[in-house]
Structure formats: structure tokens, C-alpha cells
């Protein structure tokens, strides 16, 4: 990203004020579209050049789609695909009389696609304004103008004592401030072997160590709440039902590395998450748990909640920082890593929401207790979530090492209506697809990698026998191409071409497809282009005939 643009924004008063992305999003939400005049006004307020703000306005989904007074968004995530094969979008367009991406001539109504609303437990999901309806009858209710907020199944824990499924109590911060120096907390997190829960599984303690050792006027903690993986609603659950756990984890990270400011980037597809976090932060300030002189210890730490504007790739850490600075959410080459040069050029820890939610337990109970949560496997507690195809969907807290079969058959109760499980996709769109015959694979980083899959965000999307695997490939690559940030050439062009190869009706030339997948895997700048081939590789390996390969 341009160092000059970042500096211009900084001189105009950032960080602190609303970013260019947030200001444009507010205009789009209030007035239905962003005009040239709005772009000039936002440029003047943020210190950014007009052209740069225009570039921002053309990048994010929420900023360039014209909205009617009633704005309806159909979730086109993978769980909704598994539920309807995508039919709900067409039915919604027919019923409303507006095509996806369009606004009615009288400006009354507009329809858009969105991926994903995080109501995968009761798909298909439809957002009408800020109300999300989901599951059986949702389509009919939205068409009849009787949209109602969907309920969410309560989270369950299979651990003897819940770690991530209990609301935070700030005991970890009290313990750390009361008896350990920042370095001791950092050592404890390193010893706990806490690996990142956002997909890359990088040890959190090492990130902290790098940031603590880097030079800069100040340091920042950034929580990545842009859980864009279709099928995953784990971070959504944490932000809405355990926001204190996240805020406490951030304060602990700030204490450990010497940062006094934190940011949470929440995706706009989760309207309730931002509200829950802001309310929790306000309560925490009132209780002296955030702000100046926390609990009388002299520690200063506060958190700002920032909303995204519709981009999957913003979940990648350099793109996330670009978005937080109000810029186009494109990926930057690493090094420099954010720990060395991140937000506004300062050392920055970017951790996933669930990763940070694990920290209070480590601070309160120690690394040994944390590792003991998953005996004989990767350390700690893990949240998984199931899609609507299962009998008991929802968020469940488990130990690493449990097999995917136990998860699907016992924990989630198998598929509803006696359906036969054909395959599962674990960890989001960049995760491989596990056919039913490999269900005995343990849920853990290395065993899943060995079968071309990953833990990812921990989502488990089950497909029943009725799912057409060529349709699934089409669905996934369409998502991949739509969400490419457009910076690196393999992803920008390659995903479009890969989608075209599977979208047509004919047989697919396997050699040409595999050469394209290799270009994406080895050539892409980030995990989006690099990871999108993983599920396609799985389909080639396990369902070659259904895919229609030569």
C-alpha cells in the first residue's frame, strides 16, 4: 500500500476519526449511493486525494451497489448453497421483481448478493435492512414483507469447563496485572503454544514477540473480526456473545507488547457484532477495565471498533490494515510483516478474534492448563460450527484431536432427515473437501493438512447426496473470482479463467485445469489465490467423474 497515502491520512488526524471507508459506507447506507460530491467531501475530510477515495469507493461491495429504500441481500455463502443449490437467489429476484445488483426504477427496492451472513445454522439467510431472516419460510416471509430476525442456537461446550463458550470475566487481566510482568505474560503465551485460529495457524506468541521487539513510537493491537469464510460463524458468535473475552484478550496483548491502542475490524455483514462490541467496550470503560489506569495498575489501553464495507480479502492481514487506514483493501507483499511495520507504519499485532479470546484463559490459568485442554493434540480449545444440513447445527467448543466423524455424527447428530453425508468442507473456501470415507481424520492442523484440508476457521459445511460437485466447484470459484482483490495477476485473471472452465457444460481438460491451479498456488501473492485451488484439488481427487474431467 502507498506509504504516501497512509501518511496523508495520518496528518489529517487518523487514527481515531472515522476512516474514508466508514464515511463512504455511511453515505451509501443513508442515501443509497455515493456521488462524486460525496467523494470530494470525504477526500477533504480524510486528507486523501480525490482519486484515491474514488478508488476506495469502487473496491468495496457496500460502496458501489446502488440501494433502494428497502435493501434486500441474499446470502450466497456455501451453507446457503448446500441448502438450496443457490435457488433462493433466483426465487428472491423473481418474487421481488428486481435482479441481483439492481435497484427498482422508483428507487424503492434493491437486491444484492452477500457472502456470508453467518446464519449458516439455518440457511438460506436473507438480510432485509439490518434484520436477518433464515431457514424454512424465510424466503416467503421476506417476499411478504414480514421479515423477522432469525434466532441462533445456543453454543455448547464439550470441555469439562467452558473456555470460549463462557462470557469473559476479566480474571485473566486481573491475574496478569496483579502478579506478572509483561514479559512473563508473553512467555506464558509462547509456552501455551497458541496457534492462530484465522487460517494460517501461526504461533501468536511469536507474533507478539516480533512486535514487542520492533522499534516504533507506538504499537497497536488489531483484532481481525473479518471472518469472511462462508460457512463460518465462530468469530460472529464470540463478538456477539462473548465480546468481553475479546476485549480482555486485546488488553492482555496490549499489556504484553506495550501497546495502548487496539482496533477491531468487524465485517459489515455482521451488523449485530459491532453493536455488541461497542456496548461491551463502553461497559468495560465504566468498570475501569479499559481506558486510563486500568484497575489502578497504570496500564492504559482502549479499543476502537471499525466496520468494513464488504470484501473477503480484507480478512488477509495486510489488506485488513489497508482497510483500517481507509484505503482499498488490497494485499501487500510481506516482508515487511505487520509486527514490524503495520498500522500507520507502527509495529502491529494482528490476531484473529478467536485467537485473542483464548488469551484470558492462558493469563488466568497458565500455559500447562491451556495445553491440557486438548491432550495429545494441538494446544487449547477450539470452536467449530456446523451448517444447516446437520441435525444439531451451531457453535460447539471441542478439543483438538476429535475426529471429523465424531464431530459430524455424534456432536452434530448426522444429517437431518436421514440424509446421507457425501462430503464436508472444513475451514472455509480455501479449505479442502473431505469425502465421507475420510471422516476418521482428526480435527488438527497436521492431520487435516495431510489430506489436503485445513482447520481454517473451524467451520464444517456438510453436503448431502443431492449436491452436484461440479455445481460446488462453480459456486466456490465464482466466490473466489468475485472476491479477488485484483492486485496479483494469477488470482486476478486465473480465478476468472478457472471459473469459466467449470462454468460451461462440457468436459474439463484436466491438464489445462491443473496447470492453472498450479499457477494460482505457486504464483499468488496471498492465501486467497493460493488457497482457492485446495477444494478444487479435492474434487479432482475424490469426485473426478462428477466434475466432468477428461
Amino acid at each position: 500500500m502507498s506509504a504516501n497515502l497512509v501518511e496523508l491520512a495520518r496528518r489529517a488526524g487518523a487514527p481515531g476519526g472515522p476512516t474514508a471507508v466508514e464515511q463512504l459506507a455511511q453515505v451509501a447506507a443513508q442515501r443509497g449511493e455515493v456521488t462524486d460530491e460525496d467523494i470530494r467531501a470525504v477526500a477533504a475530510r480524510t486528507g486523501l486525494p480525490e482519486a484515491a477515495v474514488y478508488g476506495v469507493a469502487t473496491f468495496y461491495e457496500d460502496l458501489h451497489a446502488a440501494r433502494g429504500r428497502r435493501h434486500v441481500r441474499a446470502c450466497t455463502g456455501t451453507a446457503c448453497f448446500a441448502a438450496t443449490g443457490g435457488a433462493h437467489l433466483g426465487a428472491l429476484a423473481d418474487g421481488l421483481g428486481v435482479e441481483p445488483g439492481e435497484r427498482s426504477a422508483d428507487g424503492e427496492l434493491s437486491l444484492a448478493q452477500t457472502t456470508c451472513l453467518g446464519f449458516c445454522h439455518s440457511a438460506p439467510a436473507i438480510r432485509d435492512g439490518d434484520t436477518v431472516d433464515a431457514g424454512p419460510g424465510a424466503l416467503e416471509r421476506v417476499l411478504a414483507g414480514r421479515t423477522r430476525q432469525a434466532t441462533e442456537p445456543p453454543a455448547r461446550s464439550l470441555l469439562p469447563e467452558p473456555v470460549l463458550t463462557a462470557p469473559g470475566d476479566w480474571e485473566g487481566l486481573r491475574a496478569a496485572l496483579g502478579r506478572s510482568a509483561p514479559q512473563e505474560l508473553l512467555d506464558e503465551v509462547l509456552a501455551a503454544d497458541l496457534r492462530g485460529r484465522g487460517g494460517a495457524a501461526f504461533p501468536a506468541g511469536r507474533k507478539w514477540q516480533f512486535a514487542a521487539g520492533a522499534t516504533g513510537e507506538r504499537r497497536y493491537i488489531v483484532a481481525n473480526g473479518d471472518e469472511g469464510d462462508p460457512g463460518s460463524y465462530i468469530d460472529k458468535h464470540l463478538m456477539e456473545h462473548a465480546p468481553d473475552l475479546l476485549l480482555e484478550g486485546m488488553a492482555l496483548a496490549g499489556y504484553a507488547i506495550g501497546a495502548s491502542e487496539g482496533f477491531v475490524l468487524v465485517r459489515s455483514e455482521y451488523p449485530a457484532s459491532r453493536l455488541a462490541l461497542e456496548a461491551a467496550a463502553q461497559r468495560a470503560r465504566e468498570r475501569g477495565l479499559l481506558g486510563e489506569d486500568i484497575l489502578g495498575s497504570g496500564l492504559r489501553f482502549d479499543v476502537t471498533i471499525v466496520e468494513g464495507a464488504g470484501s473477503y480479502v480484507v480478512g488477509e492481514e495486510t489488506a485488513l490494515l489497508a482497510c483500517l487506514q481507509g484505503l482499498r483493501g488490497t494485499v501487500s507483499a510481506r516482508p515487511p510483516f505487520p509486527a514490524e511495520r503495520g498500522l500507520y507504519g507502527m509495529p502491529t499485532v494482528v490476531n484473529n478474534v478467536e485467537t485473542l479470546c483464548n488469551v484470558p484463559f492462558i493469563a488466568a490459568r497458565g500455559a500447562a492448563a491451556y495445553r491440557a485442554l486438548s491432550p495429545g493434540a494441538s494446544a487449547g480449545s477450539k470452536l467449530v460450527c456446523f451448517n444447516e444440513r446437520f441435525r444439531r447445527p451451531g457453535v460447539v467448543e471441542v478439543s483438538f484431536g476429535i475426529t471429523v466423524r465424531e464431530l459430524c455424527e455424534e456432536v452434530a447428530g448426522g444429517l437431518a432427515d436421514g440424509q446421507h453425508l457425501k462430503a464436508v468442507q472444513i475451514g472455509g473456501p480455501l479449505g479442502g473437501i473431505l469425502p465421507a470415507r475420510l471422516l476418521d481424520t482428526p480435527l488438527d492442523f497436521e492431520p487435516l493438512a495431510a489430506v489436503g484440508c485445513m482447520v481454517g476457521h473451524g467451520s464444517i459445511v456438510g453436503f448431502d447426496a443431492g449436491t452436484d460437485m461440479r455445481d460446488l466447484a462453480r459456486h466456490l470459484l465464482r466466490f473466489g473470482a468475485d472476491e479477488s482483490c485484483g492486485k496479483c495477476f494469477p488470482c486476478r485473471i486465473g480465478l476468472r479463467r478457472a471459473h469459466a472452465m467449470v462454468a460451461g457444460p462440457g468436459v474439463i481438460d484436466r491438464e489445462r485445469l491443473e496447470a492453472l491451479l498450479e499457477t494460482l498456488e505457486l504464483g499468488s501473492l496471498c492465501a486467497h489465490g493460493g488457497g482457492m485451488p485446495a477444494p478444487i484439488r479435492s474434487l479432482i481427487a475424490h469426485f473426478p467423474q462428477e466434475l466432468g474431467l477428461t
Binding site: A51, T58, A333, G486, K487, F489, R492, E521, L525
Partner: protein, 213 residues
């Protein structure tokens, strides 16, 4: 100083030197497309991929800093395969082949890139000829970001921006109003760096020629 080998040749470089700079110093030529030595490395095109011993996948030479003991192989087969495929993809997004004298055409000849294996949608022609000295042909843009960076880093005019995302990514001057209604100062840095002639200078000679026809 940092010591490494490039294609078996030992090289000693200042800390912070990129693999691309070290390779060029050692006499190994690495093809590039989004790179311009006047601008900060961008890492978008992936044409400068090289093999590095111990790395799980090829690395972009322009954004990878040299490390002590690094062994760089500029002719790594996987890296070369991917670089060629990328140029093939780039050619496939243009409605017509690039003019023979452009940097992109020269690169395609050098890498011996043939017919695209993955044909498909191309960028629609959309010419902006409103400015007296600069022409912007969106259909020839390959989103390498060189013009945007030149405007930002060389001139500091910030008249250009990347637009859209994915396959629709392109560039715009001002609020897509063209160079004339932007902060453009007609310095020509964008046209100078463009590898496809998506941005060209309209010289007085051209104007004189068209006037006589």
C-alpha cells in the same frame, strides 16, 4: 554485508538488497513486468519468481530481501512455468495483442509465450482522449499499478488510482473524469512507465500528422 549465491555465483550485497537487485548485480537477468526501478517494489505480476533453496514455493525476486546463505536459482523450473503462465494470462485479457514495441510484447517474446491456454473474457475498449497530451486506453490496462505508483511516488500528484477489484480492476484519473479533470500536471511519468501503452503521450508530432491527413 549479506552473502548469497545466484545461479551458483557468489554475491555480496548490502543488507536490505532485494533478490532481484542481487541477481542483476550478479549478471543473472530476471524478467519483470510490474517492476520499475524508480518505484517501490509492488509484487503484483509474479513474473520475477525465482527458486530459493528451502522455500516451499517460488518467491518474487522484487519483494524478497536477500538473507545470509540464501541460494537463489533464477532458472527454477516451477518458477519459470508460473511466470510464463502469468504472461499468458495477461495476454488473454487483452482484446488484441500488445503493440510489438511495448514492454509486454517484448516480455512475451522473451518467455516464448504462445497461444493462451485459458481464453475468456477480455477488457472492453474504452478510450479517454479528452486530455491534450495524455491518452488513456482502459482496454489495454493490465493493472500493474506502475502509472498509479509513478503519479504517487515520482510526481506526488495522486491524480491516478486503481479501481474496481478482481478481473474488473483498472485505473482511473481523478474521479474517473479523465486526466483533464484530475490533479494531473501532465508530467508524463505514467505514460513513460506503462508497459502496454494503455497510457500514451500524444506528441505534437502525432497531432501534426493527424492534422495533415
Amino acid at each position: 554485508m549479506t552473502r548469497l549465491t545466484v545461479d551458483g555465483e557468489s554475491v555480496e550485497v548490502e543488507p536490505g538488497t532485494t533478490v532481484l537487485e542481487a541477481a542483476r548485480a550478479a549478471g543473472s537477468e530476471i524478467p519483470t513486468l510490474c517492476f520499475d526501478e524508480r518505484l517501490a517494489s509492488f509484487g503484483a505480476c509474479r513474473v520475477c519468481l525465482v527458486g530459493v533453496a528451502g522455500a516451499p514455493a517460488p518467491l518474487a525476486a522484487c519483494t524478497t530481501p536477500c538473507a545470509e546463505g540464501m541460494q537463489v536459482e533464477t532458472r527454477d523450473p516451477a518458477a519459470q512455468r508460473v511466470a510464463r503462465a502469468v504472461v499468458e494470462l495477461v495476454l488473454s485479457e487483452l482484446a488484441e495483442p500488445p503493440a510489438p514495441h511495448t514492454e509486454l510484447a517484448a516480455l512475451a517474446r522473451r518467455l516464448d509465450v504462445g497461444e493462451p491456454r485459458w481464453p475468456g473474457a477480455v477488457h472492453a475498449p474504452d478510450d479517454d482522449l479528452r486530455h491534450p497530451y495524455l491518452a488513456l486506453r482502459h482496454g489495454l490496462c493490465i493493472s500493474c499499478g506502475r502509472c498509479v505508483r509513478a503519479c504517487d511516488e515520482i510526481q506526488g500528484a495522486f491524480a491516478l488510482t486503481a479501481t474496481g477489484r478482481g478481473f474488473q480492476a483498472n485505473v482511473a484519473a481523478g474521479i474517473d473524469a479523465g486526466f483533464r479533470d484530475s490533479a494531473c500536471v501532465s508530467c508524463g511519468a505514467c505514460a513513460d512507465t506503462c508497459p502496454t501503452e494503455a497510457i500514451t503521450e500524444i506528441s505534437l508530432l502525432h497531432l501534426a500528422e493527424s492534422a495533415t491527413i
